[in-house]
């Protein structure tokens, strides 16, 4: 019996809306169709109306997990356009945050993989330890999600000796825990039974379908923008590109955990080499006409921004390609001939970030507002009024 099951746009395995239409024969998948477009905000069009500085905060909101990736990719492109040379210390802090972000993203993914496989204990433990790196990021930048530490020409906050000591302590804990999870992820029989041999993507297919990031590296294709196009500080630190040649979900787990260990190494080197000096230089308001292609290795793979300026204080065109979009064709290939039970694992194994992949269209018009009972403007006005009239709470505590 063959029938079509819809995975998404709302489904417990998906944290963000996307639609996977699966044609299944019993438990075996025979056909896959991916439909996008549930999460469009029109950022590329919007960016053409914002000036260079405002756009940093706009692109940061492309994604909640790799927010720093997009901001950094954009900022390093615009700095090239403006012919700015940020001070060394600023760059070191910027890429320290990027590596910490990679750590938090990979730990998040590891937990999600456990949850998708029904291994909730693993999920809980990994996410507990993820709090360590989240706290470090909050310590450095003041925020847990949108760090907002980048600015044109450097970073906005400096590190002091106490913070450096705390980061070092945190890295020691994280390294120990990651090695433990590496052991669990590669040895726990029921977990390995679920992920080994699942979602096979041969190297030839990975190349042909332009897979990126850990997905490509787990198929034995050692591509890493940090290594092949070393931007900023990456030619001054020593690290290896993690690969696996098992081409399955197990390989993707292994690659990500290895990358975690490499990231700890990079963070420690950055802290060791952190030079003294300023953290930022002043940026001009306008950029000369020109174009730049900025590439950045986000936790999910290659992130590429194409920025074109026309001599004003606004970009002529900002094109964003997030890594998840590049992995969709490969996902379709991986899902084919799999079991229904493998769908969440295979799909999660590309570490999909749907809000990253869908950023480019304009605001969807109000055909969809069927459930709304009040206008947005009205709600906003009411919220402001309520906020102004609310009594000032001192020492407010949450009721237990």
């Amino acid at each position: 019996m063959s029938f079509q099951i819809p995975i998404g746009p709302q489904h417990p395995a998906l944290k963000e809306p996307i639609s996977l239409r699966m044609t299944v024969e019993g438990e075996v998948i025979t056909g896959v169709d991916i439909r996008l477009g549930y999460n469009h905000r029109g950022l590329e069009k919007l960016a053409e109306d914002r000036n260079w500085t405002q756009n940093i905060y706009l692109v940061e909101r492309i994604c909640g997990i790799c927010s720093h990736s997009h901001a950094t990719c954009y900022v390093q492109g615009v700095e090239k356009l403006m012919e700015l040379a940020p001070p060394k210390r600023g760059l070191y802090i910027r890429y320290l945050v990027s590596e910490l972000e990679r750590i938090h993203s990979h730990l998040l993914w590891l937990g999600v993989a456990g949850h998708e496989a029904g291994f909730d204990s693993f999920f809980m433990y990994v996410w507990r330890d993820r709090e360590v790196v989240m706290d470090l990021l909050e310590l450095i930048t003041g925020n847990r999600v949108h760090y907002a530490i980048n600015t044109l020409g450097g970073v906005r906050r400096d590190l002091d000796a106490g913070q450096i000591a705390k980061i070092r302590d945190g890295l020691v804990v994280l390294r120990k825990r990651s090695e433990y999870y590496f052991h669990i992820g590669a040895n726990e029989p029921s977990f390995v039974a679920r992920i080994a041999g699942v979602g096979y993507l041969s190297k030839e297919k990975a190349v042909a379908l332009c897979a990126v990031g850990p997905t490509a590296r787990a198929s034995g294709w050692a591509r890493d923008v940090r290594k092949e196009d070393p931007y900023a500080v990456y030619d001054e630190v020593d690290f290896d590109v993690a690969t696996a040649d098992s081409c399955d979900v197990l390989g993707r787990v292994v690659v990500r955990v290895k990358e975690l260990l490499e990231s700890y190494k990079i963070c420690e080197q950055i802290l060791d080499k952190l030079p003294p000096g300023d953290i930022a230089v002043k940026a001009p308001r306008k950029a000369k006409p020109g174009e730049v292609v900025s590439r950045y290795e986000a936790p999910r793979g290659e992130n590429i921004h194409y920025i074109k300026s026309n001599g004003t204080d606004k970009p002529e065109r900002l094109k964003v390609r997030a890594p998840t979009l590049g992995n969709y064709p490969a996902t379709v290939e991986m899902l084919r001939k799999g079991f229904i039970a493998d769908i969440p694992l295979i799909f999660a194994a590309i570490d999909p970030c749907i809000c990253c992949a869908e950023r480019s269209v304009t605001l969807i018009d109000a055909g969809s507002g069927e459930e709304s009972v009040a206008r947005m403007s009205d709600l906003r006005r009411r919220a402001i009024v309520r906020h102004e009239n609310a009594p000032l709470k001192r020492n407010a505590v949450w009721p237990l």
Binding site: F3, I5, P6, H11, P12, A13, G26, E27, G114, H115, E116, A117, G118, F119, D120, S121, F122, M124, Y125, R128, E188, S190, F191, A193, R194, F339, I340, A341, D342, I343, P344, L400
Partner: protein, 323 residues
Amino acid sequence: MAVVRTLLYLVVYPGLLFLFLYSTFCEWFDRKVYARFQNRMGPTHTGRFGLLQPIADFVKLLSKEDVVPEAADKRLFAVLPIIGLAVVSTAGLLLPVWNFDLANPGWTSFSGDIIVMLYLLSLPTLILFLAAWSSTNLFSTIGGARVLTMLFGYEVPLFLAVLSPAILANSWRLAEIAAFYQRKPLLLLPNLLAFIIALIAVQAKLERTPFDIPHAETEIVGGTFTEYSGKKLALFRLTFDIELVVSSGLLAAVFLGGFPGGAVVGFIHFVVKTLFVIFLLCLLRALTSRIRVDQVISFAWKYLAPLAVLQLLAIILLKGFLP
């Protein structure tokens, strides 16, 4: 007078009310232990140590909107949760904790009650399948197919494993089996392998990780329960809680020496031993990840069933050597 006693027996103790309270307590225990294994707090808020949380959840579900799908067979859809609850509660009456009088078999303790109990415990699985099929949802249908597929895997090993101590005790009556092992506690040891097999099979019967395949939320949403909501879902969840109590009580009666010592001491035995079994089930749940349905079948037939047969063989040989 007899009518009143029977009514009390059915409704209060050990009938519906007691089973309801004790199963919610067991659910709390299960949730708390599971949470502590995962470095979480578990229920803390409702009642002391969150003891009332399962009851609060039950009441809340009762008050929720009850939606029946257009295409579903409405009568079947509505009646299945009640039948399920009735079946497992009936199975609960057969436990030898409230009918320990060996000399005086009654309508809840008779020769062959272990077989009746095993069959009563199989029925909820079929009811689950019917519920899934009658709700006509795609995810439910897949869940229902998975329920049945899994049934073929774990049912045979469970029966073989539970019957081997009965063969050694030379009785088909739960109370007598328990009494046999109370006299000769050392003979519990040869049944250890059967106990482990039965634990795994019960885990599969209760559809808990690693066998929560029919309602694996990341794959097929709610699976069998996708279309159930409100009161019906509450009854189904209660059914599974009571099934947890009854099956752990069965394992305790057969493998852990029953509940000696009359009404009060026996009851304490019952609580301690069922909680011990639930603890083991919980450990299994915390330590594994969900496997695929084909892996369940191959695991059950490659390892569980042959081991159960081996156990049976060993027991029969042992019986030959015993005086």
